[in-house]
């Protein structure tokens, strides 16, 4: 495939990558990592650059209207002048805008006792709120970690990626967050990461995040996204999650970015023996485009995986959730529930793939996708995909698309509850199957309030 040269962003990333090879921004990285960047970029080009609807994985998500704008790439200009890792944890970058108080307030989770950090356009200033981090958890800037020979390996594994955006990030990333929890350590308080994206000009930001949860360790993390500024911001995020044997990671993503944000989030999870990974992906009205690629690879036996998704879409939003649960070994359990509420002219896509390898006997794999289409102009494409090559497994999947229950609506109205309020209650109730699973009550309340906030009168 030859990429269309008419996409300005394509020109920009090609220039960016060429600049990267000559600028010396990667000179302190390992040669393996530099080779990885090179091969990832070649892969991105070989895949045809930015995907079109001819690509099966992007069939329902047409990027054409989003790719017309011009963007500049965040990162390299600054890194060029940054000669080596900063040793005090604070950034040498001078151009990070000061976090906007009102935007941070939006991400604040009332009553939640947590460690809180803020990343502005993918970059962390090293500050932690909510108390000193306990022993056994390390937070590092990726700008530093990628130049650390001991950590380099975490950025090098690219095998099996056929995703253009993941490859683009792997080729061009400069910063992000590296989180590691030591073996046997249970971090009691959740970690709240606020990703703030703000720019007055159009910007491409490519945060790279790495999570390493070592043996028998446990962590709860909440990642909130908020945005501001006049520029269009394209966020192409790549997260690698490694959950080692017997470890437990509860991972919540609250995608509350505003209009003018195009968010692509690729999350690559690997699970080892008897580990547990819980993911909550909550997407709310705002961002023009959200595409989540959540891939969990169960590389060893007896793992447990729960994927819960909730997407509430409005305006002209396009929200696409692609998930993969890859059962490679026996005795693993995966359970997936994604619920969508579609308002106005918005479009939703759900594509859930469960792959059970021949080796993966005694697999339990469940998947469910339910959609509530509120407006006649909203659409949803739901596509469950099960590919099973083992014979002794329990697998199920289901997909529904429906409207408000007239009976339920009448029951509420017959008690004096106005139609709009009744609809709001029913939307909250529909989302309840997902929100009630959130293990942290303050986060559950926060999510419910976000939902209520987005369902004003006449929204439908």
């Amino acid at each position: 495939m030859t990429p269309s040269p008419s996409i300005p962003l394509f020109e920009e990333v090609v220039n960016g990558f060429n600049k990267l090879s000559v600028s010396g921004g990667t000179k302190k990285e390992s040669s393996d990592l530099r080779r990885t960047r090179q091969s990832a970029f070649e892969k991105f080009r070989a895949l045809g650059g930015f995907p079109s609807i001819r690509n099966e994985d992007w069939r329902y998500t047409n990027l054409a209207r989003f790719l017309k704008d011009e963007f500049t790439i965040e990162g390299w200009e600054v890194t060029e002048s940054n000669d080596g890792p900063s040793d005090n944890g604070s950034s040498a970058r001078s151009e990070i805008p000061a976090p906007d108080g009102s935007l941070l307030k939006k991400a604040h989770i009332a009553g939640l006792d947590c460690y809180q950090i803020v990343l502005v356009n993918g970059s962390w200033d090293g500050r932690v709120e909510g108390g000193e981090l306990p022993k056994g958890i390390q937070l590092l800037k990726v700008a530093d970690a990628r130049q650390d020979p001991a950590l380099s390996v975490y950025f090098e594994k690219q095998a099996g990626w056929n995703e253009p955006f993941a490859n683009l990030n792997a080729a061009l990333f400069t910063d992000g967050l590296f989180v590691r929890v030591d073996a046997g350590v249970v971090i009691e308080k959740p970690l709240h990461i606020i990703h703030l994206y703000t720019s007055e000009n159009n910007l491409l930001v490519q945060p790279r995040n790495v999570w390493v949860i070592n043996k028998n360790a446990e962590l709860s993390a909440i990642e909130s996204i908020v945005s501001g500024g006049k520029g269009i911001i394209w966020v192409n995020g790549l997260s690698d999650v490694l959950v080692h044997a017997d470890a437990r990671f509860h991972h919540t993503m609250l995608q509350t970015a505003g209009m003018g944000v195009r968010l692509i989030q690729h999350t690559n999870v690997r699970q080892h023996r008897q580990s547990l990974y819980n993911n909550f992906t909550i997407t709310l009205p705002g961002a023009d485009l959200v595409r989540n690629d959540l891939q969990t690879r169960l590389e060893e036996d007896h793992t447990e995986t729960h994927l819960y998704g909730l997407y509430l879409t409005a305006g002209n939003q396009l929200v696409d959730n692609h998930t993969l649960v890859d059962h490679q070994k026996p005795h693993c359990l995966s359970n997936e529930l994604y619920k969508g509420v579609l308002l106005e002219q918005s479009t939703g896509v759900f594509n859930g793939k469960v792959y059970v390898h021949q080796d993966a006997q005694k697999t339990n794999a469940f998947q469910q996708n339910n959609n509530l289409v509120i407006s006649p102009k909203a659409t949803i494409d739901s596509k469950p995909q099960l590919e099973i090559f083992a014979d002794d497994v329990k697998c199920s999947h289901g997909s529904t698309v429906g409207q408000f229950s007239e009976e339920a609506l009448f029951y509420l109205r017959a008690r004096g509850i106005g139609e709009e309020t009744a609809k709001g209650l029913l939307i909250n109730a529909f989302a309840f199957d997902v929100t009630e699973k959130i293990r942290i009550p303050e986060v559950e309340t926060h999510v419910n309030e976000l939902i209520s906030f987005h369902i004003p009168a006449n929204h439908a």
């Binding site: 229950s405 007239e406 009976e407 339920a408 009448f410 029951y411 509420l412 109205r413 017959a414 008690r415 004096g416 509850i417 106005g418 139609e419 309020t421 009744a422 209650l425 029913l426 909250n428 109730a429 529909f430 989302a431 309840f432 199957d433 009630e436």
Partner: protein
Amino acid sequence: MLTIKNLHAEVEEKQILKGINLSVNAGEVHAIMGPNGSGKSSLASVLAGRENYHVTQGEILFSGMNLLDMSPEVRAREGLFLAFQYPIEIPGVSNINFLKTALAEIRVHKGLPPLDAKEFLRMSREKQKLVEFDAQLVNRSLNEGFSGGEKKRNEIFQLAMLEPKLSILDETDSGLDIDALRIVSKGVNKLRSENNAFIIITHYQRLLEYIVPDFVHVLYDGRIVKSGTKELALELEEKGYDWLKEEAREKATTI
């Protein structure tokens, strides 16, 4: 309180109510009986404002206002309450939050200040006790996983909380065992007052042994064919509905 004049209504283009006249005053309990398919539940649906019922003729005055002009929620806020024959299960909406929302909207409508959390809780406890409703059910999702009896008792609990002027009990006795029937009836009897009224729709006379009506009406083929006092219910119990059907047919042919 309620005046129904020559009410005709249809559902899916089928004529169900064919000229109902009924007047209910404050302090009264009216029982509406009749065989299956006579239009009893349809009458309840029309009163509550179910949208698939279309009134083709006649009028309904509620506290002097035209009921048919009001949306279901406005009827409820004005003090009309329908205890459903089949209460709906709504997983994810907590019983108590549902009542709080309903009560808040009713109070706004009446120009009353909102109840604070403490007052609401006190009221809720008091009414639970009054109608013998299990406190644990109050905090659960609305009717979800409730037994048939628990659902009906929840209707009466809601009735107690919302304090309507006119309550319509649509076959509240169906599917109830004797104990549940006794508890439901006791609740209703405690809630009866000079200022409110009840319309009790039932197929059987059994409920009327517990809730003694002032008037009994027999609905057949979309019309009230006979009205009387509580003795009429006993007569129906003894003789069934066939003699009334005969009477109605004769009447129809003579007209």
